[in-house]
């Protein structure tokens, strides 16, 4: 049976991926330099401003910090907020090379 949308009106469920793989929208990819990222350098939980500011909640509060590229839209807020400038926004086409 084909899965079809039977909703009479516009409805969605609050769940990861509900709006599709929004990472496909990304033009710029955040790339973390582990030699500058504070939690990695210190080896203990610290800073995590990228996690705090990410409007899509795709940054992990872990060591190392990880970004879920399936849903990161590449807005660059993390790079803007990062105190040691550990995050660089790289064009997707360049990142693939």
């Amino acid at each position: 049976m084909e899965n079809i949308d039977t909703n009479v009106s516009g409805v969605c469920t609050p769940a990861v991926g509900e709006a599709g793989r929004t990472g496909e929208w990304r033009e710029l990819r955040p790339v973390i330099d582990s030699t500058k990222c504070i939690p990695e350098v210190k080896g203990k939980p610290a800073c995590f401003l990228c996690w705090l500011y990410c409007p899509d909640g795709v940054v992990s509060m872990t060591i190392p910090v990880e970004i879920d590229m399936d849903y990161c839209k590449g807005c660059g807020v993390c790079a803007e907020e990062c105190p040691p400038n550990a995050i660089k926004m790289v064009r997707e086409v360049d990142a693939d090379e």
């Binding site: 009479v8 516009g10 709006a19």
Partner: protein, 403 residues
């Protein structure tokens, strides 16, 4: 023993709402709707109607309350007029787009500027494309019966319904109205089955941003995009005509009162001249048809009861034998003509109906429309047959146009 009372159109509407037992009512008073809102608050205050009556500061809010209450499963009612309806404009679209079976009365009144408190139909006409079913009533009995039918229709097709009736002419004029037994309403009107129940156990977001394309959701289901949701509304409208006809027929079976489905006809069987319009002006046209028949002119009337969905097939059939058509309407699409006239012409496209169609704009802002004026206008239309005059301009009835 039948319960027949001599009451105003607004009281007939209030009694209908009382019978339909909405869980939530929110209405902001505006002339000429006011006595309807007052009557309903009185029923609630006295405990005769167990509804939540929400007092609001505007019409935008009154419809918003209804949208919210309907979303969580309540049957709802609101009513307004004129600029109040215009103030609801955004939420009219929202109710229809959310596919909520809100029922509203629009007590038709001219819109400002300049101010008028008197009757015409520019208010509801100007909200034609908001995705609401619009039904226009002829008399107070039809107002009561149509509101009951409106809940049945709205809750079956999930489209909000606007029950329109002429301000003062019906809203404040007393007529005998038969009040149906409440047991009969329970038989006719099944409980509302909402499609949007919100529950903490099954969290949903209603009306999030929809994208231009379809999307696969978190469960891998390919979900509709914005355009598909809009198509679903149009598809629901396309089947709503049958639902309106059925509601009308079943109501007639249990009450003996048949107001017609999408249209009603008066002496059209052999009519060469057909008069048409919506609401009380069409009732008056029946008197004009009688007078024209006294003159030996075979006249008849087609009343447009449902304006949306527009009764395309019905009118193509009803006007088939007409040699002249006179449209009387209390609204206009500025820069073109009255809406009923345009829609009739569109419905006739590709048919054999080639009769001249004259569009009489009448009774704006409460200007009195006398039967004799309708008679003269319709006769003048009939006299143009064969003259090549197809009537491609509006004719303003009883209006001083300067020198």
């Amino acid at each position: 023993m039948n319960d027949v009372r001599i009451i105003t159109g607004n009281e007939a509407a209030a009694l209908a709402v009382k019978l339909a037992k909405p869980g939530v009512i929110a209405a902001y008073p505006i002339t000429p709707q006011t006595s309807l809102a007052e009557k309903l608050s009185e029923y609630v205050e006295k405990g005769e109607l167990k509804s939540e009556y929400v007092r609001v500061e505007s019409e935008h809010s009154s419809l918003t309350v209804c949208i919210s209450a309907s979303t969580v499963g309540a049957r709802v009612f609101t009513a307004t007029s004129s600029n109040g309806l215009l103030y609801m404009h955004e939420q009219l679209h929202w109710a229809a787009g959310s596919r909520l079976p809100v029922v509203m009365c629009c007590v038709n009144r001219g819109v400002g500027a300049p101010w008028s408190i008197f009757n015409d139909q520019q208010d509801s006409f100007s909200q034609r494309d908001t995705g609401w079913i619009q039904i226009y009533c002829r008399d107070n009995q039809e107002i009561l019966d149509t509101i009951i039918q409106a809940y049945r229709i709205a809750e079956e097709v999930y489209i909000p319904v606007m029950v329109c009736y002429d301000g003062f002419i019906l809203s404040h004029t007393m007529m005998p109205v038969e009040i149906p037994d409440s047991g009969l309403i329970e038989e006719f009107l099944p409980p509302y089955r909402p499609h949007t129940i919100l529950s903490p156990d099954d969290p949903k977001t209603i009306n999030p941003v929809f994208f231009p394309t379809r999307r696969e959701n978190s469960e891998g289901i390919l979900c509709d995009g914005y355009m598909e949701m809009r198509y679903k509304l149009q598809a629901a409208f396309e089947k709503s005509g049958e639902v309106i006809r059925n509601a009308s027929r079943e109501w007639a079976e249990i009450t003996g009162r048949d107001h017609g489905g999408l249209i009603w006809e008066y002496m059209t069987e052999d009519a060469e001249l057909i008069l048409t319009g919506m609401g009380s002006i069409a009732t008056e046209a029946t008197l004009a048809a009688d007078a024209l028949r006294d003159e030996g002119i075979r006249a008849g009337v087609v009343g447009i009861r449902a304006y949306r969905p527009f009764p395309k097939e019905e009118v193509a059939q009803a006007f088939k034998k007409a040699t002249a058509i006179a449209v009387f309407e209390k609204c206009i699409s500025y820069g073109y003509e009255g809406g009923v006239c345009s829609d009739l012409k569109a419905a006739f496209y590709g048919t054999d109906i080639k009769a001249p169609i004259h569009d009489y704009i009448a009774g704006l802002g409460g200007r009195d429309v006398k039967t004799g004026e309708i008679v003269d206008a319709a006769r003048a239309t009939l006299e143009t047959v064969g003259s090549g005059d197809t009537g491609n301009k509006t004719i303003w009835l009883n209006c001083y146009k300067g020198i």
